[in-house]
């Protein structure tokens, strides 16, 4: 069956373009886009007390996890979010007191995304989710003060605009307070953030 169909595919159909003449190949650079163990990756739980390496290379969507993952967090963990899956619309509005959609802009990325802050329980969850969404970029995780390898990219600092219109560093205030006051997020290039004087505070060490 499959060989017959395979033959049909390569013939010049009245309805098709002669594929062989185009000499296109399906070879993909780097890793395949769709991981065959997609299920396993999506189902893995993360420990938040682990040091999570936030750096992601170009096509490498795998996040390196600490060894003690299995003994990880006691608190219930939300799944790693795949964008748009499961396909529920405005889920946050169902059965929740409020939904808090904020736009996320990344310096240098041509378009915005929206996240619902209400579905996260901590900064770590939020940052991890942002990483997945903007996998080409490296987001600095101030939480563990780890210096991140700059081999593949520029560092980004998660900042947000609060109710008063001020731009603040993500992580300075308790999580709930942040959720309430955050109007939108911006992953700012670290160099710019320095210029704006956002690199103050004992928790954060400047990369310069």
């Amino acid at each position: 069956m499959s060989s017959e169909n395979g033959k049909r595919l390569l013939e010049t159909d009245a309805g098709g373009l002669n594929f062989e003449a185009t000499e296109l190949t399906l070879g993909l650079p780097g890793e395949p886009r769709v991981t065959s163990d997609g299920g396993a990756k999506l189902g893995s739980k993360r420990g938040f007390s682990e040091t999570v390496d936030l750096k992601l290379g170009d096509n490498n969507r795998e996040v390196k996890l600490g060894h003690s993952l299995q003994e990880a967090a006691k608190s219930p963990v939300s799944k790693t979010q795949v964008v748009g899956w499961p396909p529920v619309r405005g889920f946050a509005k169902r059965g929740k007191k409020s939904c808090k959609y904020v736009k996320v802009a990344v310096d240098g990325a041509p378009y915005l995304r929206k996240v619902d802050l209400e579905i996260y329980n901590s900064y770590q969850q939020l940052l991890t989710s942002l990483e997945d969404m903007f996998s080409c970029f490296t987001i600095r995780n101030y939480l563990n003060e780890k210096k991140i390898d700059q081999v593949n990219g520029i560092e980004y600092m998660p900042t947000y605009e609060d109710k008063d219109g001020d731009w603040m560093l993500v992580g300075d205030v308790p999580w709930q307070m942040f959720v309430e006051s955050c109007k939108r997020l911006r992953l700012m290039k670290s160099s710019e953030a320095v210029g704006l004087g956002l690199t103050t505070g004992p928790k954060y060490s400047s990369t310069n």
Partner: protein, 586 residues
């Protein structure tokens, strides 16, 4: 003209005959019979439907149909509902409003879906169309309550204002008071999407009070329970009602007031809303339950026992939207109580949780498929499925027209046999010969697509995610599904071969969406070059596709047929492949 008419009816007679033909498909067929019928039909078409706003230009529509009164436009692809289409992609209604404002002072109805609507457009509508009657904005965004205020103030003949699932910049609830005191023609109002905390209840009450023809009223979450009684008292003639937040401290006086008012609503057939519902107040609606045909509890976070009690009171239910709190046990009760059920949607209460939080499995769906002989439309979220269950469901219910199953974890196998769910979905398409819409999930190989291509001859819309092994899968669908109009695919290993081999098929469809698949930039260019009546749009956040090797897969691809040519309102992350792209970019 008269010579030809000698053996035919006069125009007026034909026009009269055509006036009984309402459906677009039929009108399109009529217009193809001969030139004179085309002419007559185009002058008397009153309702125009444009399924993809970029398939045709406003000028073209206006040129062909000089006297339409009602227009329906759709913009963004369906996957925009799940954040897969970046902000700014397109779907702007302003060019349409601007063209129509000049040409059609008598336009009465505008219905938009997934489009970007600005306050300026709303103002233009309010100013330009003196007899404007119906504004339905479904899943639209880009406007604020300021724009609504202008509509309220200016459209004296407005009958319907429906903002279902819109994202509205809620600047102030006072827009409602812009309806003049003399305004009484409202028949339908849906503001369930609005969020504002401070709501002008008195303005709302007065509006409801003076609009005695009001049949549909869907409030937003901000309207508290104790205000509902007053509002309903002013409108006992309502047929469809959506509550606001359905929670309050349990007080007998509030309860009996509410129950009393519901009893006086003799025409009520449909209920929705129920945010934050408190079970103690649910029995207040029992007086209307026996007449209810539609019940939307998709925001109601109540548990199975309360849901069961409620559903048992509604023997005439035809449509139920509910959270998975209903569980298998609740669905079994539904199956035995609601023999008229035609549509069921079960939503996940905790879609992002790693573990199941409720006891809802494939058994609930099996029970409903067995017990409800008229069931034709299903949307079901669950965490496990088996081929056996799907085959049973298919055999029980060959009359399905819409079957959308979402197994929450991608690539989940049959939980009994650990095999792919190919055979199960194969049974669905084999038994349900009238199936028009299908959404797949779970572990699926190319085989399921072979079944679909072989059997799903009436299928018009197919949604695929995390499925298939190779291009063969896509080839089966494109070559076999004769009625296919819309195909949306994400995260599947489908590449160039099937797409290019079936290029002509794409012109017979409204659109194809493919994201996170394996279609190369080179193939997109080729398609765009060779198929001038297709717009091939590459959406990529990583920057211009020609900055990477040609065989690199594109991030997102949206292909749609169009007689308007490439559009010019694209944002920087969208590229249209056209005839020149091969020459320019190579």
């Amino acid at each position: 003209m008269h010579k030809k008419m000698a053996f035919s009816f006069p125009d007026e007679v034909l026009e009269h005959v055509f006036s009984f033909i309402q459906s677009d498909k039929d009108r399109n067929a009529v217009s193809m019979v001969c030139k004179s019928w085309y002419e007559i039909e185009r002058w008397c078409r009153r309702k125009v439907f444009v399924g993809n706003c970029y398939a045709v230009s406003p000028k073209m529509v206006i040129r062909r149909f000089p006297e339409f009164r009602s227009i329906e436009l759709k913009g963004k692809p369906h996957f925009a509902d799940f954040n897969l289409v970046p902000d700014g992609w397109g779907g702007y209604v302003s060019p349409w409003i601007e063209e129509m404002a000049g040409a059609y002072p008598w336009l009465e109805e505008i219905r938009l879906k997934r489009m970007v609507v600005t306050d300026e457009s709303l103002e233009l509508i309010a100013k330009s169309f003196k007899n404007f009657k119906v504004l339905v904005l479904s899943s639209c965004e880009g406007f604020s309550t300021d724009g609504l205020a202008v509509i309220a103030a200016s459209c004296k003949n407005l009958k319907e204002l429906d903002l279902r699932d819109c994202e509205v910049d809620d600047l102030s609830a006072h827009w409602l008071s812009h309806f003049p005191e003399t305004y009484t023609s409202l028949v339908s109002l849906n503001i369930s999407c609005l969020g504002s905390d401070e709501a002008s209840f008195s303005a709302l009450e007065r509006l409801v009070g003076r609009c005695t023809n009001l049949k549909t009223l869907q409030l937003n979450r901000a309207v508290p329970l104790d205000k509902i009684a007053n509002i309903l008292r002013h409108a006992p003639q309502l047929v469809e009602f959506g509550t606001g937040t359905y929670t309050a401290d349990v007080r007998p006086d509030v309860y009996s007031d509410l129950a009393g008012v519901f009893s006086s609503c003799k025409e009520l057939k449909s209920l929705s809303g129920f945010w934050d519902v408190v079970p103690d107040y649910l029995p207040a609606i029992y007086p209307v339950c026996s007449k209810l045909t539609s019940l939307n509890l998709s925001y109601a976070t109540i548990q199975s026992p309360d849901l069961i009690k409620l559903v048992s009171h509604c023997p005439n239910l035809q449509r139920l939207l509910v959270l998975d709190y209903i569980e298998d046990s609740g669905l079994e009760v539904l199956a035995s109580s609601c023999k008229d059920l035609q549509e069921l949607r079960v939503f996940p209460s905790d879609p992002f949780g790693a573990e199941p939080n409720v006891s809802l499995t494939e058994q609930g769906l099996v029970a409903v498929s067995l017990g409800c002989p008229k069931l034709q439309s299903v949307l079901y979220f669950c965490r496990r499925m088996s081929n056996e269950a799907l085959v049973t469901i298919a055999r029980n219910r060959p009359n399905f027209t819409r079957f959308r199953l979402c197994i929450i974890e991608p690539k989940t196998a049959d939980y009994l046999t650990l095999e792919p769910l190919d055979v199960g979905f194969g049974a669905i398409v084999q038994y349900c010969k009238d199936l028009k819409r299908l959404s797949l999930s779970g572990l699926l190989t190319d085989r399921v697509f072979e079944y679909i291509g072989t059997y799903a001859k009436k299928l018009e819309m197919l949604s695929v995610a995390f499925a298939g092994d190779s291009d063969l899968g896509l080839h089966h669908v494109l070559s076999g599904c004769e009625s296919l109009r819309k195909l949306e695919i994400r995260d599947c290993p489908f590449g160039d071969k099937a797409l290019l081999a079936n290029a002509a098929k794409l012109e017979t469809m409204r659109s194809l969406w493919m994201s996170s698949c394996a279609v190369s930039f080179a193939a997109c260019k080729l398609l765009g070059q060779k198929m001038p009546r297709l717009n091939v749009e590459v959406i990529d956040e990583r920057g211009p596709p020609d900055s990477r090797p040609e065989n690199c897969p594109v991030d997102k691809l949206y292909i749609y047929r169009s007689i308007a040519g490439p559009r010019f309102d694209m944002p920087p992350f969208v590229w249209t492949m056209d005839e020149d792209s091969g020459l320019r970019l190579s």
